[in-house]
């Protein structure tokens, strides 16, 4: 497999892997918690890297994901103390964990040489450098297969728990009456999100991963009224964004993840404006028809008299 094809496939797979759980993240209103997770996993990744020495290792991915879970559980604890107002609990824990990570990076913790720039936005091309060879044949970047595995895991989790996830998202109290362990399910789901964030770190870094997770699903939400449609649209938008982001980065010689983030944002605005315009036109036409009907009835009733 050629290197460039490997990078393109990696971009698409990473986008898709992040976007699928993103649907429930958006619907459950957890976007900013995921932002916290994506910052908080940095110290976990660095400690893991110092121990394992490989960013793609499953041990590192699971271990660092636990740091991300600290944000979820910490947020729940702070909210339950009742001492803090509004969304402040979500903004209190992750900066400290991120600060620890940045301190480690800048002090060359255990001689882990990680560029702060890469820590923020990753490097898709660098992530695709190491190839996987089977029987002497290069079958694409090794990292691609890590992401493919995670894609299967995410799709599998969503498929198996789709009913429970749906009920807990749209009718939480009803779910509790049914005996669904909402809290356990939420923690498991957020752990999976955390795993996804860590796995994608190599390619898209700590800050822009939230774009891949949230924006395709939010764009799909604008124009869908059914969950199945939203999933299909999310997947399509994720892939389009990955291809467009790769192409923009290639032409401008710049970072893939940043280009993807900007493209997703612009696409969201375009879809939002188009959707509003379409709604307005439809409403106007509806009103026109209505007013014509009323005038017709008036004319008719006048002629009867």
């Amino acid at each position: 497999m050629s290197y460039i094809l490997g990078v393109v496939l990696l971009a698409c797979t990473t986008a898709l892997t992040c976007a699928l759980p993103g649907v429930f993240v958006v619907l459950r209103k957890h976007s900013m918690i995921v932002d916290g997770i994506s910052h908080a996993v940095l110290p976990g990744i660095i400690i893991g890297f110092a121990i394992v020495g490989d960013l793609d290792s499953p041990v590192l991915i699971l271990g660092a994901a636990v740091t991300g879970l600290l944000v979820v559980l910490g947020n729940e604890w702070l909210t339950e103390t009742g001492l803090l107002a509004g969304d402040a609990p979500q903004g209190l824990i992750f900066p400290s964990l991120f600060a620890v990570g940045i301190l480690m990076v800048s002090m060359d913790f255990q001689h882990v040489h990680l560029d702060t720039h890469v820590a923020l936005v990753g490097d898709m091309n660098l992530a695709a450098v190491i190839p996987l060879t089977v029987g002497g044949v290069n079958i694409g970047p090794e990292y691609l297969y890590v992401m493919l595995g995670l894609l299967l895991l995410n799709a599998g989790f969503i498929a198996v728990f789709s009913r429970a996830l749906k009920i807990t998202t749209f009718a939480r109290q009803f779910a509790e009456i049914l005996g669904i362990r909402t809290r356990l399910l939420n923690t498991a789901f957020m752990f999976l999100v955390s795993v996804t964030v860590v796995a994608a770190f190599n390619a898209v870094g700590a800050i822009l991963v939230i774009s891949l997770l949230v924006v395709p699903a939010a764009t799909a939400q604008l124009i869908s009224t059914r969950l199945s449609v939203m999933f299909a649209l999310t997947a399509a938008i994720a892939i389009i964004g990955a291809l467009a982001g790769f192409w923009i980065a290639y032409v401008l010689d710049t970072g893939t993840s940043a280009a993807m983030a900007v493209f997703y944002g612009v696409l969201f605005v375009a879809v939002a404006v188009a959707e509003r315009t379409a709604t307005r036109l439809r409403r106007n036409r509806h009103q026109d028809v209505k007013s014509e009907e009323t005038s017709a009835t008036l004319v008719r009733s006048a002629s009867v008299r």
């Binding site: 958006v26 957890h30 976007s31 900013m32 995921v34 932002d35 702070l78 103390t81 001492l83 803090l84 107002a85 509004g86 969304d87 402040a88 979500q90 903004g91 209190l92 900066p95 400290s96 991120f98 600060a99 620890v100 940045i102 301190l103 480690m104 800048s106 002090m107 060359d108 913790f109 255990q110 702060t116 720039h117 923020l120 936005v121 800050i207 822009l208 939230i210 774009s211 949230v214 924006v215 939010a218 939400q221 604008l222 401008l252 010689d253 710049t254 970072g255 993840s257 940043a258 280009a259 993807m260 983030a261 900007v262 997703y264 944002g265 612009v266 969201f268 939002a272 959707e275 509003r276």
Partner: protein, 325 residues
């Protein structure tokens, strides 16, 4: 394997306060970060009471492209120093405000919820900022060295002019807060009454967010954009545990922000070559934890004790009631 702690060079760079304050650069760092912490803490109190603390995260990330555009405009069009604090602040205030408005518009006009709207706004602006950063580092612009410091700050780069600018701009934001104190208070606690009394909600909101944006962007040189959220969210959350009045909260929050930042800056320098922003964030977090655990009226410990006592009293009452029957 025994982990080597060579990165934690605690003793080798330790210095005493006298040595610290006799150094011009260190004095600049200390004063600069104290001003930033004070302004961000005081104005963050209003964001906290509006229950919109996280908007500061959006503003912080979105300030990056503004600061970089200001740099580009300065070196290509005006031929002046691209790292001038005033230009940087103006650019950052513009994109920071735009991002906050963008997030609020999405939440108001589409079915996308506010948290997702904030995430969309933040990543789009920050992604654009990272494209600009790459563009600047790839091309030969004068004075681009150290421009990566906008991300995590480098307190040692604060000059006297920067300090003057941050004090002036910070004072402007604090002045606006004092002048519009009544409007800000009413809008925070009773938005409906405030509109009924004839205060224009849009104007007050814009003013209030502008002051918060200013508080965030003056921190760029010392702290960087990525961690400024902690300067706006943490001091008010800590201050709230000790006071029940608005003036008390704004003052205490500013005090916690200012003292915490000054102490953090001192630590970061005496520990050696350590970035200032992250150290201050950890100091502020420690103050928050202390407040949550130890404040006399509201803390977690006191609440738990009170609950235990009430439970015991109730048990006693029930037992004595049962024995009299």
């Amino acid at each position: 394997m025994v982990p080597k702690l060579s990165w934690l060079r605690l003793d080798s760079h330790h210095m005493d306060p006298v040595e610290f304050f006799s150094n011009h650069i260190f004095r600049m760092v200390f004063l600069g970060t104290t001003v930033i912490g004070l302004v961000a803490g005081a104005l963050g109190a209003f964001a906290y009471l509006r229950k919109q603390s996280l908007i500061s995260d959006v503003i912080g990330h979105a300030a990056l492209p503004g600061a970089l555009l200001a740099f580009l405009a300065a070196v290509t069009m005006f031929g002046v120093n691209g790292r001038s604090m005033l230009l940087l602040v103006i650019g950052a205030v513009i994109t920071g405000t735009l991002a906050a408005l963008f997030a609020n518009t999405i939440a108001a006009r589409t079915k996308v919820a506010i948290d997702t709207a904030m995430a969309i706004s933040m990543t789009t602006f920050f992604g654009f900022g990272m494209l600009l950063l790459r563009f600047i580092t790839n091309n030969p612009f004068p004075g681009k060295g150290g421009i990566q410091d906008y991300l995590f700050g480098n307190a040692a780069s604060i000059t006297r002019a920067d300090l003057t600018t941050s004090i002036a701009v910070g004072a402007l934001a604090m002045g606006l807060m004092v002048v519009f104190w009544k409007e800000f208070t009413l809008r925070s606690f009773d938005p409906v009454l405030s509109t009924m009394l004839g205060f224009k909600a849009r104007i007050i909101d814009t003013l209030m967010f502008t002051t918060i944006v200013i508080a965030i962007v003056i921190g760029v040189k010392a702290v960087g954009f990525v961690l400024m959220v902690a300067f706006v969210v943490t001091p008010p959350a800590a201050a709230r545990q000790w006071t029940n009045t608005l003036p008390g909260m704004v003052m205490l929050s500013g005090l916690i922000g200012g003292l915490g930042s000054g102490f953090g800056a001192y630590l970061s320098i005496s520990l050696g070559n350590v970035p200032t922003g992250p150290v201050i964030v950890l100091v502020l977090f420690a103050i928050l934890l202390f407040s949550l655990l130890a404040s006399p009226k509201r803390s977690v410990v006191i609440t738990a004790l009170r609950r235990m006592r009430a439970r015991r009293a109730l048990k006693q009452e029930l037992i004595s009631e049962g024995s009299t029957r």
